[in-house]
Symmetry: C2
Subunit: 195 residues, 2 copies
Amino acid sequence: MIDIPAREGRGVRVAAGQRFRVIDVEGGQVADTFAFRADDISEYHSAEHTRAYVSRLFPQPGEPFVTNHRRPILLLEEDRSPGIHDMLCAACDPERYTGLGVEGWHASCRENLERAMAGLGFDRIEVPQPINLFMNIPVRDEGELGWEPAPTKPGDSVTLQAVMDCLIVVSACPQDIVPINNKDPSAVAIELLDA
Amino acid sequence: MIDIPAREGRGVRVAAGQRFRVIDVEGGQVADTFAFRADDISEYHSAEHTRAYVSRLFPQPGEPFVTNHRRPILLLEEDRSPGIHDMLCAACDPERYTGLGVEGWHASCRENLERAMAGLGFDRIEVPQPINLFMNIPVRDEGELGWEPAPTKPGDSVTLQAVMDCLIVVSACPQDIVPINNKDPSAVAIELLDA
């Protein structure tokens, strides 16, 4: 089990076939999830290619997330949560918090990703559009987006399988200005399962 | 006027304040549009940052498209079209056509972008999620996406203003397998206006 404290991120290398679970430990928490091809990190999970591949805003269980070269990289195997996830919104970043009126430094998913990837040996990366597990961004009439609290309960999880060798990063989203984490960011975890 | 033949792309440098119109010359045609910051092309229009910035799937007239650093790069000034545009789907690319069963080479918006940027002096670029003007991708129940014909008439256009010095590329989407261009890709144009 890889515990990810509130507002932090962790990365791990997983082999093709490896299954893992992303767990919302206390509930009501968004987990920004990223996947890079292990032997060439210029290939990574791509939200815009995945939407076109599955013809929906987010894959259903049994469907893959694909890379910017349209190859499956993760399979959404099982969803033990309310099934509400987002793949429309960028990772939060320093500019996001400045725009929200925060003065000084604020933890962010982009910095968590960069730190985790540096820990895996990669100092320069593209920042992909994340898979925002448990994030509740309803698409309303005329394409308007809501920013709603994550409806997950403690222990809710999503099980993914790596389709190729890859680097996975998960960030316990530090957003505490808009209510997506119920204004109380908390811990998440990655549980590595049998392949 | 910069004429863009069917299935091709063109790039142009525009100064901050410059206004330009993207025109669907014959109607029923998607125009994939990209914007890079002129003095650092690692900053470019970002669909996922723009959605978060305007809290909707696509900006309305008067709203900006922002970069991956959340700075306005283009302003959507006027929409003389049915107002149906997409910012969910990746640019078509060789892998897209292979996946659709095409054998051999097929023109694509990604290659059009790369060729236009090479012509502006940049051989290596990131491929951003495009602004797919006139593209009709309805979001249905449960987040399912449709792939519908562009509903534009000849001469329909969108007027944009550059907020910073930037490189603009427009591709007349060559997609002729799915019906987004009414299975008959046609020409588009960029008209540079007074600033």
